[in-house]
Every structure is written in structure tokens, then in C-alpha cells.
Amino acid sequence: MILLELFLTFFKIGAFTFGGGYAMLPLIQEETLAHGWMGVEELMNFMAVSESTPGPLAVNLSTYVGAETCGFPGALCATLGVVTPSFLMILLVAKFFAAFQESFAVKACMDGLRPAVVGLVASAFWGILPTTFSAGAPLAQLAAAGLLALGAFYLHWKKVHPILIILACAAVGVVLGYLGVLSL
């Protein structure tokens, strides 16, 4: 029953994402690869699409994987799956807001979870790195490293909007591609 599998998998992803957005990446990477729903390359392509369309990455990605796997019902089940844990959790927390905010246990768990998420995202980054750098000729790999460094610099330290970075990198890709540098 693929619909149930979609729902449950994205339920799990939703339930174990702390910190939103890219904190979700390690889980998504593991699940989509394990199920054969998406390769690393396609996942990265889609992340760029998701960054350039409105809405949370989690919702965009679950909708996309669901739709690719099983059409409209698939998209619906995957998206419901990713949303349900947060929904239930927040309903619960909203009732005990004050207690939750001051809870010793919650703070202690978060102290463990924050660094864990950093380590996990770092490992996802590490895992994804080869797909970018193994493609094409040596010159293309060098160019990719340059784009990555420039992108990180302008994004993080110059606060350039992510969509601009994506567009600029896409443009460089097209130019290099037609110059025959990439040989993909």
C-alpha cells in the first residue's frame, strides 16, 4: 500500500525535524534514497525549485515526492503525513504553553538536539558534495567549487537573496554548458 507508506514516511520526517527547513534534509535524504523515490541529484534540483517557489520546503518536497510516486492521492497523503505530527504536537503544547516554555526536560532535550541537528546537516552536506563535484570534466569540477565558495560568501555574508544566487549559478551553468566546459 504505497499511499500508506508515503503517509507514514513523511509522518516520520515531520516528527523528527527540529528547526525546520534544512534541518529536515538528512531525514529526507535517507528516506527518499532508501525508498528509491528520488536520487541525490534530483533531490538537489528540487531543493532549488522549492527555494524558488513559495511555501515551506517540507510541504513542497512531500507534495512533489507524493505526486511523482502516486499522483494526486500520493501528493495528498505525503503532505498530510508531514503536517500531522506538528499539528498534533502544537495542539498539545498550546494547552500547556507556560509549562512547556519553562520545562526543564524540554530545555535539556533541546540542548542535545541543537548540536545533533548541526552534525546531521553537516553529514548531509558531506554526502551531497560528491554529486556536484563528480559531474563533468575536471574544469567543471573546479568551476563548481568556485560557484559554491562564491555562493556561500554572497549568501551568508553579503545577505544576497537565495533566489538570486540560484539564478546566477544557473546562468553560469548554461554559459559553461554551451561553451562545452561541462561535458555532462
Binding site: F16, F18, G20, G21, Y22, L25, E30, N45, A48, E51, P54, P56, L57, V59, Y64, A67, E68, F72, A75, P85, S86, F87, I90, V93, A94, F100, Q101, A105, C109, D111, G112, L113, R114, P115, A116, V118, G119, L120, V121, S123, A124, F125, W126, G127, I128, T132, G136, L147, L148, G151, A152, L155, H156, P162, I165, I166, A170, G173, V174, G177
Partner: protein
């Protein structure tokens, strides 16, 4: 009263659909929009409360955007409010991506698109890198954090551990460390 609540739910749905439709790039881009709609325009919650909600949304699982929408909805109109606000924030992305999904895969076969995506993947790496740096900055700066982050990285990158297992282990470690450090310190 009931009619009032129904009207409120419709309003919540529309407001959060608007927020969902105009947020590019994740939850933090969404916060100013939520503030404008929920606090300034509709006076559903106070401005100060928004920040509290975001903090709580960060320490509960799930996408921050969804969490905050559910939270505001629940505050304003109970369970139906939570439901409609959450549906509202999800619906625009769902529709857009669903429509895109049918063309996206065909697109990827065109040469120009292939070249473009080659560049785009480098951009995505820099996005992840930037997110990583931001997340690392939010961590407590102590040996405990460094060790946990390093161990989590190694567990997955070198030993192929499941992220879920690593998260559970780290949450428990945080709890154990706090209990040991403070002896008695119940909430």
C-alpha cells in the same frame, strides 16, 4: 457565536494562505508576514506572543511554518481555527508544486536545463552551507555541543547511522547531562 467562529476560520484560512503563497525560502522569511497579518492587521495575538510562538515552534518537531500556523489558529479559534490556519498555509505550496511536478521531470531532459541545474546544485550546496553556519551559531558554545555535533556527524557520515536514532540519542544525552549536572531540577 458559532457563525462568528466560522467567519473567523475563513479569515484564518485566507490569511495563512496568503502567508503561504508569499513566503519564499522557509520559515524565517515567514515570520514578518505572520506578524503583519496576525498581530498588526487582525489583532489575533500580541506582537510579543509571536516571538514566543516561534521559539516554541522551534523546539517542537515539524516545519516552523506549520507549527506557527497551528499555534495562531488554535489561539484564535480553538481546534477548527488550528485546522483552517494549517490548511491555509499548506494549500498554496501544495497546488503550485502539484502543478509543477508534471512538467519538472520532462524539463530536466533539455540540454539548457541540464546545464542550468548543474549550476543550481552548486547554489544549493551553498544554501545548505549557509544554513549550517546559522544553525551552528545558535548552538551553545561549549565542549558538550561540539562533542555531540561531531559525534552525530561521524555516526551518520562514517557509520551510516539513521538520523532518527542519532536525534533520539542526543535528546537523551542532553537530558541525562542536565540531570547529572543539576542533580535535582524538575520543571
Amino acid at each position: 457565536m458559532e457563525k462568528n467562529r466560522a467567519a473567523l476560520c475563513v479569515q484564518l484560512f485566507l490569511s495563512f494562505a496568503k502567508i503561504g503563497a508569499f513566503t519564499f525560502g522557509g520559515a524565517y522569511a515567514m515570520i514578518p508576514l505572520i506578524r503583519r497579518e496576525a498581530a498588526l492587521r487582525h489583532k489575533w495575538v500580541e506582537e510579543k506572543e509571536i516571538l514566543d510562538m516561534v521559539v516554541v515552534s522551534e523546539s517542537t518537531p515539524g516545519p516552523i511554518a506549520i507549527n506557527t500556523a497551528t499555534f495562531v489558529g488554535q489561539r484564535v479559534a480553538g481546534f477548527p481555527g488550528a485546522l483552517w490556519a494549517t490548511l491555509g498555509v499548506v494549500t498554496p505550496s501544495f497546488c503550485i508544486i502539484f502543478l509543477l511536478s508534471s512538467v519538472l521531470r520532462q524539463f530536466q531532459e533539455i540540454a539548457a536545463v541540464k546545464y542550468a541545474f548543474w549550476g543550481v546544485r552548486a547554489a544549493v550546496l551553498s544554501l545548505i552551507f549557509s544554513a549550517l553556519v546559522s544553525m551552528a551559531k545558535q548552538c551553545p558554545k561549549n565542549t558538550f555541543s561540539y562533542v555531540l555535533a561531531g559525534a552525530s556527524f561521524l555516526a551518520v557520515a562514517a557509520f551510516g547511522a539513521s538520523p532518527v536514532v542519532v536525534l533520539l540519542a542526543c535528546a537523551l544525552t542532553g537530558l541525562a547531562a542536565a540531570l547529572l549536572g543539576r542533580g535535582e531540577g524538575k520543571a
